[in-house]
């Protein structure tokens, strides 16, 4: 089978995105980041489907991507509600806060040796003052105070 130009590359990019999303879903603990990774996997699927659609000259792949978008929107709505409810109950966005739900014979995840937080404070950009201070209209100032 001779793949059309860019179809091989599209499949490769889809596979890479899917694998990165899988690593994220397995490794990260933040519930919202886990959902972002699930969306990333869906994006990988979408790229692969469009590549196949190009290869075979068929609209089926693009149709499937449209329905993937639809289901992703539904999934995000439901999942965010569940995340919000979980946060309201535990006060954390931590997946390990719900480890009591799993099998009773599995060992508990206990965080020991947490890495220290970055000691370097984040540097935010700062606007340099420029220009002259505009003259203030007294009426306007009074008006503002009344508002």
């Amino acid at each position: 089978m001779t793949l059309l130009p860019l179809v091989h590359d599209g499949l490769l990019v889809g596979a890479i995105l899917f694998a990165i999303g899988l690593v994220g879903i397995l490794a990260r603990r933040n519930l919202i980041v886990m959902f972002l990774c699930a969306e990333l996997m869906l994006q990988g699927i979408a790229v692969s489907l469009v590549a196949w659609s190009r290869q075979y000259g068929d609209w089926g792949g693009q149709m499937l991507v449209i329905f993937v978008l639809t289901v992703a929107a539904c999934e995000a709505a439901i999942a965010l509600v569940i995340v919000l409810q979980a946060f309201a109950r535990t006060g954390r966005l931590d997946a390990a806060a719900w480890q009591s739900l799993r099998e009773s014979n599995l060992p508990r995840v206990i965080d020991h040796g947490l890495p220290a937080p970055d000691t370097v404070a984040p540097r935010f950009p700062r606007l340099t003052p420029a220009g002259v201070l505009p003259e203030q209209d007294e009426d306007e100032v009074l008006h503002r105070e009344h508002v």
Binding site: M1, T2, L4, P5, L6, V7, H8, D9, G10, L11, L12, V13, A15, I16, L17, F18, A19, I20, L22, V23, G24, L26, A27, R28, R29, N30, I32, V33, L36, C37, L40, Q43, V47, V50, S53, Q55, G57, W59, G61, Q62, M63, V65, I66, F67, T70, A72, A73, C74, A77, I78, V81, V83, L84, Q85, R92, L93, A96, L114, P115, P117
Partner: protein, 266 residues
């Protein structure tokens, strides 16, 4: 079937690139065994760049410009931002990187000839879903970095699992270019065109043509013609998700309030 056939020299390059990508992700994930030093993360980033170069080299010989150059750039943006999404400590930065990854994916879709889907990805994902994620983050994020953002679940095993999956996928994708067995010959449109049997469809109907002027019209005709039932089902699904999410939010918030309100007028 020998192992040498499955791993030709480009395959070896590919395996090295996949291993380098996995090592780079492991070095950059929060809370690995080496203890999150900044220098370790820079080493991981350098390894990631090497892995990208290896993947690009093994994907195809570099030399094409134009379409392939654009494809390389946008796919590089997508892959790098996706990796940055999962290694960002702060979930807000993860969401921003995810938006950039979406932009890269939309570019890939555009180059592959799916104009409508490229735009729809930006509108639906970056415009709606991502903003919803950010709203929830702002509602639920404690001040500063939470401890669970500074550690990972089994970073080594996770990246190994990802590397195994990526290796399997790339090997099977590479085999697609080879000669398939006789059982699995699927008639390709290009083969049909090259063979002279052009009775299948006019050339403008090809969804892969990025310069077709009536792309969206044909997409809509296909969507509301052949897949009309699926569109109806998708509409029902959206309605159910809407009702369900509203019901779950209001129920979780105030079960007691609702029962108290029910008794109040009596």
């Amino acid at each position: 079937m020998s192992l040498a056939a499955a791993f030709p020299p480009p395959g070896l390059l590919l395996a090295g690139a996949v291993a380098a990508a996995a090592a780079s992700l492991w070095l950059m994930l929060p809370g690995n065994a080496l203890g999150g030093d900044r220098r370790v993360r820079w080493i991981g980033a350098a390894l990631g760049i090497a892995a990208l170069a290896g993947l690009a080299l093994s994907g195809r010989r570099l030399g094409g410009l134009g379409e392939e150059g654009v494809f390389l750039v946008v796919s590089g943006v997508a892959v790098v931002s996706a990796a940055a999404t999962i290694v960002s400590r702060s979930p807000v930065y993860a969401a921003i990187w995810f938006a950039l990854a979406l932009a890269g994916v939309a570019g890939v879709l555009l180059v592959l000839g799916a104009q409508f889907l490229g735009v729809a990805t930006i509108v639906v994902y970056a415009g709606a879903i991502l903003v919803m994620f950010l709203f929830v983050l702002m509602l639920a994020q404690p001040a500063g970095l939470a401890p669970y953002d500074r550690v990972s679940n089994e970073p080594l095993l996770s990246t190994l699992a990802g590397a195994v999956l990526l290796g399997l996928l790339t090997v099977s994708i590479g085999r697609l270019s080879g000669e398939p067995p006789a059982c699995c010959q699927v008639p390709s449109r290009t083969a049909a065109v090259a063979g002279g049997t052009t009775d299948a469809a006019p050339a403008a109907a090809d969804p892969g043509d990025p310069f077709a002027t009536d792309h969206v019209a044909r997409l809509g005709a296909e969507l509301f013609g052949r897949h009309l039932l699926a569109v109806e089902a998708a509409g029902v699904l959206l309605l159910v998700a809407l009702v369900g999410s509203i019901a779950m939010v209001s129920r979780g918030a105030s079960v007691e309030d609702a029962s108290a309100d029910g008794r109040a007028p009596a």
